[in-house]
Amino acid sequence: MQRREFFKKLGAVAAVTAVMPSMSFAEEAKPKGPNEFSYQKALDVITGGKPAKTSSKVQLKVPEIAENGAVVPVTVEVDSPMTESDYVKTIHIFATKNSNSRCVSVHLTPANGKAMFATRIKLGGTQDVATIVEMSDGTFLTAAQSVKVTIGGCG
């Protein structure tokens, strides 16, 4: 009997943990002020569980060692013809260990002519900078590189 009880409880716990994450996603999907948003959550919200492939088409340029974490230049370039039928829809840039990992999501159109985006981001410490690129056919490409930060830029 004890064994049976134990399995029942185990089942209940598993059911609760399975439901919980989906509930929290619904809340987190709306961007609110300064908020925590982990890279894993962002990844799930954006791709919706679809696989993101590492591709040589996506070029992520970040310095390997950043002396000042407050200003880290990031460039994302995607090899794409940028025509009506085949173009880069969105470029997302993430700082994987910042409390809000999302930096910027850029929605491009064929009128851009070339799929490239550059900006400067803040990094709280040594971490990976990642990018997810959504193509017009619904596939996701990704690239990541670690950046060593000597002085953190947050807080």
Partner: protein, 111 residues
């Protein structure tokens, strides 16, 4: 607060119709994360950052960006655009405080 200084740059400066040029938009903005403490008052500085940026060329939206506080102070947004005749390039940006501002330049292709 008043209006912030902003700037739109196009590279190269002289361009032709149909050419793909680099467009940079810069805005002088503190980009407060809401996590930094003021050294004197020891209180958290409230968050204040650029929320979204929109590039409109000849009345057509070409690029929109959702921005969060992880971008550096005085952020720069660089991308490319295809020149398609003379017209106005307008950049609209929204701040987390709800303030909406815009900056525009005239596009004049030569030759």
């Amino acid at each position: 607060m008043g209006k912030r200084k902003s700037l739109i740059k196009i590279k190269p400066k002289k361009y032709k119709d149909g050419e793909v040029v680099k467009v940079s938009f810069m805005v002088m903005h503190p980009m407060e994360t809401g996590m930094r403490k003021d050294k004197e008052t020891k209180k958290l500085v409230p968050a204040e950052y650029v929320n979204s940026v929109k590039f409109t060329y000849k009345g057509k939206v070409i690029t929109t960006m959702n921005v969060w506080e992880s971008l550096s102070t005085n952020p720069v947004f660089t991308t490319y655009m295809k020149i398609d005749g003379a017209g106005e390039l307008k950049v609209t940006y929204t701040e987390s405080t709800g303030e909406v501002s815009e900056k525009s330049i005239k596009i004049k292709p030569k030759g």
